[in-house]
Amino acid sequence: MVARLQTAQSPGTTSTDRSSEKSSGFLSGLFTSPHGIRSSFQPAWRQYVLATAVFIVATLFSFFAQRLFGYQAIALIYLLSIVLLALFVNRGPTFFGTVLTAAGWNFFFAPPAFAFNISDTYDNMMLLTYFVVTLIVGQLTARLRAQRNAQMTAKLLAESERLGRTLLNSVSHELRTPIAAIMSAASTLHSTSVLSNEQQRLMHEIESASARLNRVVQSLLSAARIQSGQLRPKLDWCDIEELVRVTLNGIKDQIYNRRIRIFAPKNLPLIRADFVLTGQALANLVINAATYAPPDTPIEIIAQVEGDFLTLTVSDDGPGLPPDQLERIFDPFHRAGTTKTGGLGLGLAIVKGFIEVQGGHVKVANRGVGGAVFTIHLKTTDTPPVMPSEVYEHSLK
């Protein structure tokens, strides 16, 4: 019920739903996922039990009422009981109750009593009419209730999503404002006063510590955004070579003077992807490689087309991964046993989340010669982008 409703309400959310269902609920205590809402319906078998119970109670009551009103009025008691039942159960059990009461009226009350044959034509017509009216009324009631439930669920979903977003925004604001204050104060002090050597070293420590704290907060918030299903990729035509270059430029400070070799053929197609999310995913892979591989070894980035995918491979000459870790390496907070450096273990989970939300996937393997290979797969499009005619011309002069 809930799943069907969601796709009907917002077709765009399917991809985020998938990713948030897969991850095992980290941070879920903090950020309510819309999937926390369950249908308030009882399980099916209980509804049938309830229908049977309603029938038994109505029948028992009717035995007394029969003496006062006669057997034909009993049909009205049954009708009332079915309408009431339909307020609480689905259409199936309502129909079941309708059949039961029709049979019950026929068997217990319509003469001859305690037999299914009916002697009177009038009673036969009555039975048929009862059956049809009860069926329609019961189904209408059940449908009304289902609609109301659907509206409520949709409202709850929207509300929970809104709450999640508000919470994420305010947590992010509260965490980032003090960091902004520290960084701003430090950089102002740095640029407006003459500091002794020692003070400069201390200032450098403050600056790098707050930059690190900022990255940690950034990771946590990214993970929370993935988890809460608030992540909406903004797909746009991207030049992968440009993306690689801009990304590496953005993480210069974190990978120091690491040698990075980029292999990208000139004729790579443009792909539809989220530039920022893909860039962040690539950045995390490169930082990961730089963390685990010895400092003097190069990191290789290869972009190429493989079938329907554009792949972005990051490989290093590090120790590689123990085979039993390959499966779990993308799990949030997972840390490889060999981990010596700090970190939350969110970087690779974010890579996976950011790529999967765009419809791509990430793979990891060990190279034959040692070192790990991470590959981002992004779908290339069947229909290449329309270009203005001038692109194919040579220069005018």
Binding site: A180, T188, T192, W237, G250, V276, V391, E393
Partner: protein, 239 residues
Amino acid sequence: MNTASNKTPLSVLVIDDEPQIQRLLTIALEANGYRVSTASDGRQGIAAAAQRRHDAIILDLGLPDMNGIAVLKNLREWTQTPIIMLTVQDGETEKVECLDGGADDYVTKPFNTAELLARVRATIRRAHHGQTEDPVHRFGAVEINLATRRVARNGQPVKLTATEYVLLRLFVQHAGKVLTHRQILREVWGAEHEGQTQYLRVYMVRLREKLEADPTEPTLFATEPGVGYRLIEATPASI
């Protein structure tokens, strides 16, 4: 520093609800010779901007009473004072909205004060000397003459297609400013092509190949991920 020699100091209005950020921005700006006024919410900010002329406005996107973008749009209805927005990380959509809504620049929190001051200086300079009459512009080794439509690199003429030239001219006219994808597409290809980012990607590659010393290490055309492109200005010593 540079502004201290001016007779009347340049004034900056800071609209931010966080008292601590307000204080720190005030210290940093005053240390650099600016006169600073502050406002803690959108309504106060608009009132303060209307009360007296400022040379620049620093506007936080997250204000308690109204959305920063609404404040920006209100201000843009009646003033051309340079506006620099303070945005958060992951806020690419908002950054684009700010620039499309008339902001001159944005700085992402947490920011380095030196970077913010550089942006303030650059936007004020653009606002003051925006309508320069000199048709010749220089960016590193590249020289563009808007009057004769000649483009040269290291003194050697560079052949550009008509569209490449229009794109380059747009960057030159807004040197130092981030132009959003939509703004560039609308100006160069027309409003009906606003969504065709692929044109832009292809033309940026071509422009970089023709004008950058090393197209893989661009020093002229900077990519602002998820937002747009910026033609990097040579940083002059003073405003």
